[in-house]
């Protein structure tokens, strides 16, 4: 294990809380995909995509904020940090929008849909990272560039955000196919890919977190 020795280890309770939160988040994410079938409403992605994406955005950001609120060992936020966070997220929305257009999303049509996707991507990537890492760029560089992350929240947000982006990327693959399915319309498949990637990332990172935690504890005992 190449982890630095002075690495901080979160307490057992925090780890448990994080894993529990992740499982809840990922299950609710999967539920969100099937919500129309469950509740028999017209809130499915294929019928009213914008409403559904909006709902997804609210649910995920709410869950993220809630779990962060319950976490005792969270990064301390001041008011200015919140402001910075909001600025960062707005910037990232614009960034994701530009990236989506550059990758081939229509420029003049479907702007609303593309923007919704950008917001969803922000919520599944930048928001968790903001909450886990704070607004200090140094932390971000530590995690995303140098790959030395604390076993705990940062590890989760690292894996989850990469998986979420990858999921959205893979989600674009079936768009040109001529299957004529309703979910092939831009950006629904990307939204689905993103949500699956996000929830998969949450589960995967939880497992990895438990594994790392056990290893570290063993190391501690010996």
């Amino acid at each position: 294990m190449a982890a630095p020795i002075q690495q901080q280890i979160a307490s057992k309770q925090t780890i448990k809380l994080i894993v529990l939160g992740n499982v809840i988040k990922s299950i609710s994410c999967i539920l969100l995909l099937f919500i129309a079938k469950i509740t028999n409403s017209r809130l499915s992605l294929t019928d009213s995509s914008l409403q559904a994406i909006k709902m997804d955005i609210f649910c995920i950001s709410g869950l993220e904020l809630l779990t962060n609120f319950l976490n005792k060992e969270k990064v301390q936020f001041k008011l200015i940090d919140w402001a910075k966070c909001v600025i960062l997220m707005v910037a990232s929305c614009v960034f994701y929008y530009v990236v989506a257009v550059v990758f081939g999303a229509p420029f003049l049509q479907h702007t609303n849909e593309t923007f919704h996707l950008a917001i969803l991507l922000t919520v599944t990537t930048v928001l968790p990272c903001c909450l886990a890492l704070g607004t200090d760029i140094g932390n971000w560089v530590q995690v995303f560039v140098l790959n030395s992350y604390e076993v705990g929240g940062p590890l989760i947000c690292y894996i989850t955000s990469i998986m979420a982006v990858l999921g959205a990327w893979v989600g674009a693959f079936p768009i040109p196919l001529d299957w004529d399915r309703p979910w092939q319309i831009w950006p629904i498949s990307c939204v689905i890919g993103n949500l699956i990637g996000y929830s998969g990332g949450l589960l995967l990172s939880s497992l990895y977190l438990l594994y790392r935690y056990r290893l570290l504890n063993k190391f501690k005992l010996t």
């Binding site: 530009v98 990236v99 550059v102 990758f103 081939g104 140094g138 560089v141 560039v145 140098l146």
Partner: protein
């Protein structure tokens, strides 16, 4: 040691086996149908000759003595059909309702004329259509390739049948006919057909002779082939005033011809194919297939007024109809059906008005036709085993059934007389015959896309083997053990296999058992195992030797390979091929961003040791300066990345639509400027000036770059050419566009040489530029510093931003002779630091100007966008490389960079207004700078290749920059890197570092060529595999086969260009060492 000659030999050998693989596959995939060399003759057992009319005839009594056939190239059904929905004041499209005389005839004498759709069989090129129209047979896809070398038709055809019957044929018009039927016409007036810009020569030539020759009455069959409508479509598109002018001319021609027709003459007016909305043809879209047919005779043609508006006739139907009407045998291999409506009237029979008589007449004609088809099918069945047994038997039964029904009916008629039930039976019988002929046609259509499975598999195996060998050399090279006994034996063994495969496919042919294919695959697997084992051995060895240098494939290489495989797998799905422009955009952008992220990571990991907190402002008391942060190297990378991908995204505006991509907005950029109407002149001017500005920018940027690095000093021929001839050629390109943008009337009034002069000057300039750079590939300037004049020029030069001099201190000591040096100080050489790069850039710019010319003014911005985004990508790449390597290191080429560049150029293909379909070829390029009239077809083919595969050529040219650029440490590069380089320390040596180790340079380029070969051939393998696998797919001739053909030609172009660039860099290296030895 691994000398250059061996590398050249290996590269050539690899290219050869690749091409052999492509040839074998092509042979199996694009198979010609078997030609049955039998001719129909007059005495056949099935012709009844029961009619006792006075008129003679061979199989059937002839209705007409003479025929006038007027072929109007690309005469669409829409042009012929009079659309009455337009009101008097409506603006009618220029091609609509311009043949009112046809409508007049249809109204005046409905029994003497008929109009119908006349569906062509793809490919809709004139030569193929003429073959189909005269033999009555169906063409195969491969025939399209022989359009440039038209050959005589030996298959049985109506022309020969008419001549045998003693008819005299007079011919006027398109000289393609003379290539097909040399020596058949007793009087001929041919006119050249290749110059599509020329709307009038052929038509006016025909019109001059048409009426006098018609009135001479010394002919039995009169053929006139007009080209004006087709050329007008190619040049202006259907909806252009010139088209309405042309069609009105045709209208008056038809009126004049009908006036001089005799009673015993029938007139056919038809188009051999239609045209697309842009006026082109060659493919298989409905617009191209829908030609029109108009038949007229002063005699009554048909008894019942046919409802031809809804009927659709096939072009093969012409041959049997014409044969039976004129009383000649139907050509042996005809598959068409005589038009029943034309045979229901018998002018000699007294009971011509009785319906039963009419139906009986039709049955007689159809029966003869069915007999002929049956005979053909039977003899085809004997020589080839392709017919599906079941269908063939079913058709046979149908025919027997109909024959026996006919006998029964005849006896019933004799015994019972003509009752009502007989009529219904007769109509049923007629339907039977029709069904039989149609069924035979359909069956043949299906099987004539016949594939030689052995050759297909052999081709695929050879291709796969070549890829493995290529991979082996690529990997083996990395481990620096290039030529070993094993690799020699691999080469020999695979040569033997490939040679045998070649012989098998082209000479031994059908004798091979398909079992041999499996044997081949076994050999292949063995080779594969050897390769794997060999590589593992090598890896282990190098692991043992130098553990530090051994690395697993890096992260980006894995992703690049994954994306390449995704892209290749996409060839197997028709939707991915249809939307390939979007797919390539997506993948290319992914790879560009991957490189951006990689550069970003390497940039920051590099400074792991330094405390990056200082740069990131952890000291919160420090003043927050947004500009400082935004100009941080990480942000610069982001800007460059965003600009690069935004420019790349803009290329999508230049895409054209393929037929399957609906809905889709057609780009305005591929439309020639001359097509703009008077009202759009503002737009026309804007587009012209934007295009010219882009062209100017392209040349100006490269010039500024060369000047900046001091490569444009001195007075050698190369430098002078780059300084003056290149801008001159650029100006000429701009002027050429201006001339081409003139209104058509003005343009046509200019003499031919004035129209093409500018483009020819460009060709001459470019050829002389290339010759210059080949003779003296160095753009250097030596400034000797005199002993008694110590004016410290070097210092001046260093301080000046214009000139980067290279001091030859050590080199001089090493290399100069022991004799007295003339000058004490070392000479200053301008441009030494960019000596390789400049030569490559010189070639890129020169060929770039040629591509600008051939792609035309509309696509000029797209070339600029593509080159700027490629340039930015190379900057990102070099930032990454210079982050990772030490300054003195000579780095090898990254596989992922080659894949990225390849993917970018794959999208660039679509960005230059192309699609992988035959209708989207830009035929205008073949006439850039030439007035038509080519003696051979090499030159237009070459121009078409330069136009269509501009992207592949561009990629091949740009690739060497991947090697040299990182060593330049350009300003942008230093902005993107935190790390400071030697440039700031005054030790910058540029790409001259490569000169230190010529062997290494050769190896790098050898490897680069191998990587390019590998990339292109993996793509091609995907296209081949998809075409082979989906050979029975519904869309194979629309999607997979064109994709394969485009990919194959593009790959061969890439091979050639990258090999030539390898030779060119070697040439630069050689002359550089000669240059250095002077000192």
């Amino acid at each position: 040691m691994f000398s250059g000659k061996k590398q050249i030999a290996i590269l050539l050998w690899l290219i050869t086996i690749y091409i052999i693989g492509i040839l074998i596959f092509t042979k199996g995939f694009l198979l010609k149908r078997v030609v049955v060399n039998n001719n129909s003759s007059c005495d056949v057992d099935f012709s009844l000759n029961t009619d006792d009319h006075e008129e003679e005839g061979c199989w059937m009594h002839k209705r007409f003595k003479k025929a006038v056939i007027i072929i109007n190239d690309a005469l669409k059904y829409d042009f012929l059909k009079f659309d009455e929905s337009y009101k008097l004041n409506d603006t009618v499209p220029h091609f609509k309702n311009k043949l009112p005389f046809i409508q007049h005839l249809l109204h005046r004498s409905p029994k003497n004329s008929m109009l119908s759709k006349f569906m062509a069989d793809p490919p809709t090129t004139t030569l193929q259509r003429l073959k189909g129209l005269t033999t009555g047979s169906l063409p195969t896809f491969v025939d399209a390739g022989s359009n440039f070398a038209s050959s005589e038709i030996i298959e049985d055809n109506i022309i020969d049948q008419m001549i045998t019957a003693g008819k005299k044929i007079k011919f006027l018009g398109d000289d393609t006919w003379l290539g097909l039927y040399p020596g058949r016409f007793f009087k001929k007036f041919p006119f050249p057909s290749f110059n599509v810009k020329d709307l009038h020569t052929v038509d006016n030539g025909i019109l001059k002779h048409l009426l006098p020759e018609l009135k001479l009455k010394d002919w039995d069959v009169f053929i006139a082939h007009f080209l004006g409508v087709d050329h007008c479509g190619h040049r202006f598109g259907p909806n252009h005033p010139a088209m309405s002018e042309k069609l009105l001319q045709m209208n008056s021609m038809i009126r004049n011809v009908t006036k001089v027709l005799d009673k015993d003459t029938v007139l056919f007016v038809f188009g051999d194919h239609g045209m697309t909305r842009t006026g082109d043809h060659g493919g298989d879209s409905t617009d191209e297939l829908e030609a029109g047919l108009f038949i007229y005779s002063p005699e009554i043609l048909t008894a019942t007024m046919p409802k031809m508006d809804t009927r659709v006739l096939a072009q093969t139907d012409l041959v049997p109809t014409l044969s039976l009407l004129l009383g000649v045998p139907i050509p042996y291999s005809n598959l068409g059906m005589a038009i029943p409506e034309l045979f229901n009237h018998c002018p000699w029979s007294k009971t011509a008005t009785s319906e039963m008589r009419q139906v009986y007449h039709v049955i007689k004609a159809l029966r003869l036709n069915a007999h002929q088809v049956k005979q053909f099918l039977k003899s085809y069945y004997e020589i080839s085993t392709e017919f599906p047994q079941q269908t063939y038997k079913e058709l046979e039964n149908l025919f027997e059934h109909a024959e026996s029904d006919l006998q029964k009916l005849l006896t019933a008629m004799v015994t019972d007389g003509e009752t009502g039930s007989v009529l219904t039976k007769m109509i049923k019988l007629r339907d039977h015959y029709e069904k039989y002929i149609e069924g035979s046609r359909e069956m043949c259509q299906k099987i004539w896309a016949k594939f030689d499975l052995v050759s297909i598999s052999l081709g695929l195996i050879v291709m796969f083997l070549s890829i493995l060998i290529n991979l082996y050399f690529y990997l083996a090279h990395k481990n620096e053990e290039s030529i070993s006994p094993i690799s020699v034996s691999v080469m020999i063994a695979s040569s033997v296999i490939v040679g045998y495969a070649f012989l098998q496919a082209f000479y031994i042919g059908d004798f091979m058992n398909p079992f041999m294919v499996y044997l081949f695959s076994l050999v292949l697997i063995v080779t594969f195992l050897i390769l794997i084992k060999k590589n593992i051995n090598l890896k282990e060895k190098s692991k043992g030797d130098r553990q530090a240098t051994f690395k697993l494939p890096s992260f980006d290489n894995i992703i690049a390979t994954f994306i390449l495989f995704c892209y290749t797998a996409g060839y197997f799905s028709n939707s991915f091929v249809v939307f390939e422009d979007t797919v390539t955009l997506f993948f290319a952008q992914s790879l560009i961003w991957l490189y951006g992220i990689k550069t970003y990571l390497s940039n920051n990991r590099n400074t792991k040791d330094q405390k990056f907190e200082t740069t990131f402002g952890r000291h919160k008391k420090q003043k927050f300066d947004i500009f400082e942060k935004l100009s941080h190297s990480n942000f610069i990378i982001l800007y460059v990345l965003l600009t690069c991908s935004l420019l790349f995204r803009l290329l999508t505006n230049f895409r054209v639509c393929r037929e399957e991509q609906m809905p889709c907005n057609e780009t305005m950029f591929v439309q020639p400027l001359t097509n703009f109407t008077q009202e759009e002149s503002g737009l026309k001017n804007v587009r012209y000036f934007v295009s010219t500005a882009c062209l100017g920018m392209f040349v100006y940027m490269s010039r500024v770059w060369m000047k900046h690095y001091g490569n444009l000093n001195g007075d050698t021929a190369t430098v002078l050419c780059a300084k003056y001839l290149l801008p001159f050629a650029t100006v000429c390109v701009g002027l050429h566009w201006a001339i081409q943008a003139l209104p058509p009337v003005v343009l046509d009034s200019l003499p031919g040489w004035q129209q093409v002069m500018m483009a020819q000057i460009v060709y001459i300039s470019i050829i002389s530029l290339i010759i210059c750079i080949l003779i003296n590939p160095l753009c250097l300037y030596v400034l000797y510093v005199h002993r008694d004049n110590p004016l410290s020029v070097p210092n001046m030069a260093i301080s000046s931003p214009q000139i980067i001099p290279q001091v030859f201190n050590q080199l001089k000591e090493q290399l100069s002779s022991n004799g007295q040096a003339k000058y004490e100080r070392p000479p200053v050489v301008y441009g030494m630091g960019t000596v390789y790069t400049t030569s490559v850039l010189y070639v890129v710019t020169t060929i770039g100007v040629l591509l600008f010319l051939l792609l035309g003014d509309g696509l000029s911005p797209s070339i600029l966008l593509a080159s700027v985004s490629v340039f930015l990508f190379i900057e990102i790449y070099s930032a990454d490389v210079s982050n990772g390597a030490k300054d003195s290191d000579v780095t090898t080429v990254n596989w992922s960079a080659v894949v990225t560049l390849g993917m970018m150029t794959s999208h660039f293909f679509y960005g230059t207004g192309h699609q992988a379909t035959i209708p989207s070829l830009q035929w205008n390029a073949a006439f850039t700078g030439f007035y038509g009239d080519f003696n051979n077809n090499i030159l237009p083919a070459l121009l078409m290749i330069f136009n269509t595969f501009a992207s592949n050529i561009f990629m091949g040219l740009v690739c060497p920059l991947l090697v040299f650029w990182p060593k330049l440490y350009t300003r942008l590069n230093s902005l993107m890197c935190k790390k400071t380089h030697n440039k700031e320390k005054g030790k910058w040596r540029g790409d001259f570092v490569f000169f230190d180790d010529g062997e290494k340079l050769r190896q790098i380029f050898y490897q680069l060529s191998l990587a390019v070969l590998l990339f292109s051939s993996i793509k091609l393998f995907g296209a081949m595999g998809a075409a082979g696998l989906h050979r029975r797919h519904l869309m194979v001739w629309k999607i997979f086969a064109p994709r394969f053909i485009f990919e194959a030609v593009g790959t061969i172009v890439s091979f050639t260009v990258s090999f030539l660039m390898y030779l060119f860099v070697m040439r630069v290296d050689n002359s550089l060492s000669k240059f250095v030895k002077q000192f």
